[in-house]
């Protein structure tokens, strides 16, 4: 029983990170139908920067945390400008898929060049102590993900619902032409969505580095996990993404414990493909008007 509880908490901890990263896809996808295929590499970058700033440059934890998030957000602003804006030509365009994949490869290889292949864990400010709940032992540094991510999500919701930027984001998601007629530049709003998405990636990476070893080659796998979450939930469904992220985290931990660590990924992606057969629009998607071609 205590093992199950322990696994549950571990699963939730990693799951909330997946959800955070996957929300980055959703934020931009609802606004203009594009997403950054190099999101995973951005998360990696957040983690590597975090580790570098705290362990090599000896900057204070919170400063490194903020810097990592801000730098990745800024980078994503540049990516939007260079790799998205020119290639965002309607629903069937594939150029932005290719261009953001190219960006991902470049980020990873350049990071490898400067950082080397080493991996590292950022010392967590909550220390290496254990939290004991009903006989289950969980590291504090793992458990702390849950409240931190919850706080970040609340911040995101407040921004989305209360700020005028959030209003414009919601409006653009609803009807891009209408927002342009109102005299608001939709390019600018797309850029804001990308900055937010980058912020989530940077925060996710920085957080992740406090409990898991980060190195330059974790990006692809992370990006794919987050994509799985987005597909499971439906890319345009933020609430569903949070739920799917948590479910995937828990499922992964249990599969690793009881079935096989070696083929854990296969199970995950197999599950995603099965879901696509069964519910192509995602598990939690509320049906809009469907066009039947």
């Amino acid at each position: 029983m205590s093992l199950v509880l322990q696994l549950m908490i571990s699963g939730l901890a990693v799951g909330c990170l997946y959800a955070l990263i996957a929300l980055g896809y959703s934020l931009t996808y609802v606004v203009n139908g594009t997403l950054n295929m190099s999101q995973g590499q951005l998360v990696m970058l957040g983690g590597v920067i975090m580790f570098g700033f705290t362990s090599h440059a000896h900057l204070p934890f919170l400063v490194s945390f903020a810097l990592a998030a801000a730098l990745v957000a800024l980078l994503n602003l540049g990516i939007e400008r260079l790799a998205i804006r020119k290639f965002d030509r309607g629903p069937n365009a594939i150029e932005w898929v290719l261009s953001t994949i190219a960006v991902g490869i470049i980020i990873q290889d350049v990071a490898l060049y400067f950082n080397g292949p080493d991996e590292g864990v950022t010392p967590s400010p909550v220390g290496d102590g254990m939290l004991r709940i009903m006989g289950a032992g969980v590291y504090w540094k793992e458990f702390v993900f849950l409240p931190v991510v919850a706080l970040l999500l609340v911040g995101l919701i407040v921004f989305y619902k209360k700020s005028h930027w959030g209003l414009w984001l919601r409006a653009t998601a609803d009807n891009r032409t209408a927002i342009e007629i109102m005299g608001v530049s939709s390019n600018k709003i797309v850029a804001v969505a990308y900055v937010l998405s980058g912020l989530l990636a940077g925060l996710g990476g920085a957080l992740m580095s406090t409990n898991y070893a980060v190195s330059v080659d974790i990006g692809l796998a992370l990006g794919l996990k987050a994509i799985s979450v987005a597909i499971l939930a439906g890319v345009n469904n933020p609430k569903g993404i949070v739920a799917a992220g948590l479910i995937l985290g828990i499922a992964e931990v249990f599969i690793g414990q009881y079935i096989s660590t070696a083929f854990r990924e296969m199970f995950v992606y197999g599950m995603v493909i099965l879901v696509l057969y069964w519910k192509p629009a995602g598990l939690f998607n509320t049906s809009k008007t469907v066009i039947k071609v």
């Binding site: 139908g33 997403l35 295929m37 260079l82 790799a83 020119k86 290639f87 629903p91 069937n92 594939i94 150029e95 898929v97 290719l98 261009s99 994949i101 190219a102 960006v103 991902g104 490869i105 470049i106 990873q108 290889d109 350049v110 060049y113 692809l220 796998a221 794919l224 994509i227 799985s228 597909i231 070696a262 083929f263 990924e265 296969m266 992606y269 995603v272 493909i273 696509l276 057969y277 192509p280 629009a281 008007t289 469907v290 066009i291 039947k292 071609v293």
Partner: protein, 606 residues
Amino acid sequence: MNSFLQLGLRYRGTAAVTSAAIIVALLAACPWLMDTYYLNLLFMIGTFVITCTGMNLLIGYCGIVSIGHAGLMATGAYVSSYLSTQAGLSFWVVALAGMLMSLVIGSLIAIPTIKAGGVYLSMITIAFGVVIHEVLIRWDAFTGGPLGISGIPKPELGGYRFDLKSMYLLVLAVSVLVLVLIRNLRRSAWGRAMIATKENEIAAASLGIRKFAVQYAGFAFSAVLAGLSGAIYAHANSFISPDTYHFQTSVQLVLIVILGGAGTVLGPVVGATILVFLPELLQMEKLRMALYGGIMFAVLFFLPKGIVGTAGQLLGRKIRGYAKTGPSPARERNSETPQLFAHASSSGAVMLELNGIHKHFGGLHALKDVSFSVATGAVHSLVGPNGAGKTTLLNVISGLYSANQGTLSLRGKSLNPRSLSDVTMLGIARTFQHSRLFKELTVLENVMVGMAGRRRVGFAHALLHTPKQRRDERVMEERAHLLLDLIGYEGDRDMPASQLPYGHQRMVEIARALATEPDLLLLDEPAAGMTAAEIGQLEQLLRKLTAYGLTIILIEHHMDFVQRISDTVTVLDFGKVIGTGKPEEMLTDPRVIQAYLGAEEVAAGA
């Protein structure tokens, strides 16, 4: 000089075939001209050409990107190697098994992702490539783990054992064959259907083309080619390991296609040549992937059509410049259109009947209890102010939206519009409010796409360019010319549709819709943006069509035109039918005037 060039142009086809034959002959002589180092590189180019030609079909024609084809190559390589090392089967058998397994596994991931559409295929194929790589490392018993499989025997044929030279010749032969197949495909109804779907899937569906069918066909063929290329590589190299089938390999394959030029037959050849020689020239260990990423980015930014595509465009412009000066071959014009519309149904009977149609969009009630019937052979116009629900109604009839409530019947039989392409096959064709011609295709090809739903030959026929396919193609071409004659299009028929003036675009769209052989034609504001002369032409055309027995539902705002052409008018306002009747009655009805002009205007006028 000019006349010499024109003479050259007349024999353009022959010249192309001859020069291709010379190049292939030179390449075939390479084993006796080069050392093994270069021969190896040429061999690598060949294997890439085989895989990337399949991916070109996917990216350039179908408009979907797979970033997991290295995984499919691995499937072909490992299945064939396992079978030939463990079971001792001959190369020809195991290569087939490899292709088959690649097709099966590829289909498992492609079927749901193509249906889900958009970027899903790209995302899932990346995951697929990564998973396959993991499996290759961990499934020791089958794959030999990180060490891979070694001692894979070279192919044998009737006692002869292949060596590097003959393996190279084999790859050369297969590459050339594959390129020819793709060229055939592009010039068939399948190729046109693929490009149509890539450009505008709704317009393609309105011609009876199912997106899934064409895209899956493209994916399946590319999977088979990837499996084949994997098997050939494994048996030439006699050793394979997971390192060859990275995510990076898949990216490299995509890069080959877009660098060479997606959608051009020779693109993969040029792309593969560059990407095989580049690392040999640069000798760089670090930042190689970053360089590839940079090249990919630069190509997307500055050469979106790739090297061959851009060069072809420049050359094409020059050649067309010369060709214009020569006389265009005269085609015999037929003023009669005997075999275009076979089924002249008895006029007066009911073609389409709508009964209590409701359609909601969330809280918006776009259609409320719409009922009327359309007589066979009539022009039935739908009028009403903007937002009255006319286009929504057309979308419901044509199957693009499903009604929330109500029934339809076509020729007395219950009509259950499942999808746009489905309804087209039942004999209902439509055009759209905004022009949706396929810009990459020529005028003639646009009309021929309209026949793809009914008259497409099998995929194998299209690949092999069989006599049946050639016959079919001739029939379609002739019919397309007849339809263009019918709508009175006089201009260049081999011109890309993107260069047509607007009025002509609308007319060609009608010809394209007619190519689906409909009984019922739905026209959504065909006269919008037309000049008065063009409207006159349109009117003549509609009269001809009804004379052939076609039934037409017309949405139009030009009221005098509506009055002249219509047999019956239905007026819609706020999603409700105000009335159905003769045009002269309906258009003078005070309720109709009120709907158009508002209550106060009517009161003031009275």
